[in-house]
């Protein structure tokens, strides 16, 4: 299997999806002529024409609203929101429309739109080029929320999202775009929505992390191993609906859990995972479920490194859980 970066893997999923299915349309700011600010859609407009790869005016609500209308009328739009931080002008279209269309029409109308957006920190982007908004979308009933951390998963999950019947918020860990490489199956490749990936097996503690925090978790697990602690790392990949079975199975075995994410801690998705674990694994837990997360501040510029969880902070939580 060829090696690819996360960015290449997503690009390939888009290209192959468009080639396979004429209903697939890309739209967003700068996705056409420029090929996207991260060059994710480079070459696609030349190949598929400006009717199918659309440079839009600067209005995210318009982009997602238009995509919903396309989807109602049989297309498979894949939207790019330039940065996840700029998804808020479209929040109403997402929460009021995209998420509720199937329910409110009792299935008469559906909007299988995929909303791709670069998420998270790590590029010194400050407040507005670093946020991790997954919790907002997990809390919005009707949405599927996906966040891959490996190139193969990125390709396979995006293919599944594009082929599915439900709207998907597809969060891309921009810090990993060019920094991770991995084997990626050529041609059609699907990873099912709703199945977690066990990134590393272990016996003493379960560490749940997604997006750019998955490799941080793996590094922390390496540090812990050096201290004799065997950490299992689970990357949910699909944040919602969550593969709770895999997590509960692991925690029931290890008896300890730490959740790791970049987004601010309070009311983050880690709270939900922690709440679920303690509900379901109560008698197996030897320590509280700890959370390591971004701080409850806007995302800072100069102090980004202090803000973002690193393996040492994770290790401190692992130690605390082991010592409890």
């Amino acid at each position: 299997m060829p090696q690819a970066t996360l960015l290449q893997a997503i690009h390939d999923a888009l290209l192959e999806g468009m080639a396979r299915d004429p209903r697939v349309i890309l739209l967003g700011e700068d996705v056409g002529r420029e090929g996207g600010v991260f060059r994710m859609t480079q070459g696609l407009m030349r190949r598929f024409g400006q009717e199918r790869v659309i440079d839009t005016p600067l209005n995210e609500g318009g982009i997602i609203g238009m995509a919903i209308g396309m989807a109602l009328n049989g297309m498979r739009p894949v939207v790019e929101i330039e940065f996840a931080d700029f998804i808020y002008p479209a929040f109403d279209q997402i929460v009021s429309e995209l998420a509720k269309m199937r329910y409110r029409s009792a299935g008469q109308f559906t909007a299988p739109v995929v909303v791709r957006t670069p998420s998270g920190g790590g590029i010194k982007g400050g407040h507005y080029h670093s946020q991790s908004p997954e919790a907002y979308f997990v809390h919005t009933s009707g949405l599927t929320v996906v966040m891959p951390s490996t190139p193969a998963d990125a390709k396979g999950l995006l293919a599944s999202a594009m082929g599915g019947e439900d709207p998907v918020i597809f969060l891309e860990p921009k810090a990993l775009y060019r920094t991770v490489r991995g084997e990626v199956p050529e041609g059609e490749h699907r990873v099912p929505i709703g199945e977690a990936r066990i990134a590393r097996s272990g016996d003493d503690l379960t560490l749940v992390a997604w997006g750019a925090m998955a490799p941080v978790a793996e590094k922390a697990a390496g540090l812990a191993a050096a201290e004799g602690v065997s950490v299992e790392v689970i990357d949910p990949r699909t944040l919602w609906p969550l593969d709770i079975g895999t997590i509960v199975g692991s925690v029931n075995r290890t008896g300890r859990a730490v959740i790791l994410h970049e987004a601010p801690r309070s009311c983050g998705f880690g709270a939900e995972v922690a709440a679920l674990i303690q509900e379901r694994c109560f008698l197996h837990l030897k320590a509280p479920v700890y959370r390591v997360a971004g701080f409850d501040t806007p995302f800072p510029y100069a102090l980004e490194k202090s803000y973002l969880p690193d393996p040492r902070r994770v290790l401190a939580a692992v130690r605390a859980a082991m010592a409890f």
Binding site: G62, M66, I68, Q93, S96, Y103, R104, E165
Partner: protein
């Protein structure tokens, strides 16, 4: 652009320049549907007052808008209505039972009681599910039209909304996208002078709503929204242009909501009795009746008969719909996703268990 197109002149005759020249049966159809819509609204309000339904959004006074526009639509066209456009649904053939089922929210409702009354939809006529948030349907109408254009279909989409809707970000986005992508979209603004209590003079300082089209590089037209023939003409032309690849149009239909904003509203707080009375004089149904009488197509007897017929049709439909059972409890958890996920299955099972 601030002038207004009318067809039916004060003397009750049609302006030959603008007359859409509809065949007699269509003229009578328009009348019957307007009468039906009025009967439907009156019944719905009575049902709400009687506590048999919870809420309703009437369109009395605006019948010429939704019925005239609805008549201009063709099979294949997409409809993105607001909550005040059940006239379009009736015109396009949506059964009374579908609309009534929706306001009862029982098993007669094809949408399973999911939404408040007046938030209907009907896939078979491409009438998209009404949403409460004002104007969210506008960019969607542009997207549906774009898809049709991409596939080379000669169909258009119509988005309807109120004067208040023009202030939303969605209006701006949709108009701008339609202009840039030249989509076959008709923006049909029913300017009924108020957004709940806020008069249009406090909604915008623009000289008209139609003038706003200039900001997006396409045509804006003002039409007399109490003149069903004028609406039919202007919307028909705009839809034809759209289907022919000539791009979008904004239509401002000047009209007035005779009744309350909804059954929760008390319009006497913000409107004078004189103002309402003046607009009652311009009642679109009576005005059209006068026109038809002038043409010898109706007389007092057939006008009364049409009203009676409409009432009876509504009464019958109410009977059918009231007999339907409540929506099944499990439906609460369905249609959130294409397939029922584990967490909703669990929630349903827990609730069922707790119920026993």
């Amino acid at each position: 652009m601030d002038s207004m197109i009318s067809v039916i002149r004060p003397d009750g005759t049609a302006d030959p320049e603008q007359d859409p020249g509809l065949p007699e049966e269509d003229l009578l159809l328009l009348y019957r549907k307007m009468a039906l819509l009025r009967a439907f609204d009156e019944k719905a309000i009575a049902l709400q007052r009687a506590g048999r339904i919870g809420f309703f959004v009437p369109s009395a006074g605006q019948e010429a808008c939704s019925v005239g526009a609805g008549h201009a639509l063709r099979d294949g066209d997409w409809i993105f209505p607001s909550y005040r456009d059940h006239g379009m649904a009736l015109m396009r053939g949506c059964p009374l039972e579908t609309l009534l089922g929706q306001i009862y929210g029982n098993a007669a409702d094809p949408t399973r009681g999911r939404q408040m009354p007046s938030h209907w939809c009907d896939r078979s006529i491409r009438l998209v599910s009404v949403s409460s948030p004002v104007a969210t349907q506008l960019p969607q109408a542009v997207g549906a039209a774009y898809a049709a254009k991409l596939r080379g279909e000669k169909v258009a989409s119509i988005a309807s909304f109120g004067d208040g809707g023009t202030s939303t970000g969605e209006f701006h986005a949709a108009m701008n996208f339609a202009g840039v992508f030249e989509t076959p979209t008709v923006f049909f603004c029913e300017n009924n002078q108020y957004a709940i209590s806020v008069p249009v003079s406090r909604q915008t300082a623009a000289s008209s709503l139609a003038v706003k089209a200039q900001a997006y590089g396409f045509r804006g037209i003002r039409v007399d929204g109490n003149d069903v023939l004028a609406v039919r003409k202007v919307v028909g032309d705009a839809l034809a242009r759209a289907r022919d690849g000539k791009g979008p149009t904004l239509i401002e239909a000047l009209t007035y909501r005779i009744g309350p904003h909804s059954t929760s509203d008390d319009p006497t707080i913000y409107r004078s009795a004189e103002e309402v009375a003046a607009w009652r004089e311009k009642d679109p149904i009576r005005r059209f009746a006068a026109f038809l009488s002038g043409r010898g197509l109706m007389d007092d007897a057939s006008i009364d008969a049409a009203a009676a017929e409409a009432k009876e049709a509504v009464r019958k439909a109410v009977e059918v719909v009231e007999a339907a059972p409540p929506v099944p409890f499990e439906s609460l958890f369905e249609d959130v996703y294409a397939e029922l996920p584990w967490h909703l299955a669990e929630a349903r099972d827990a609730l069922l268990a707790g119920k026993e």
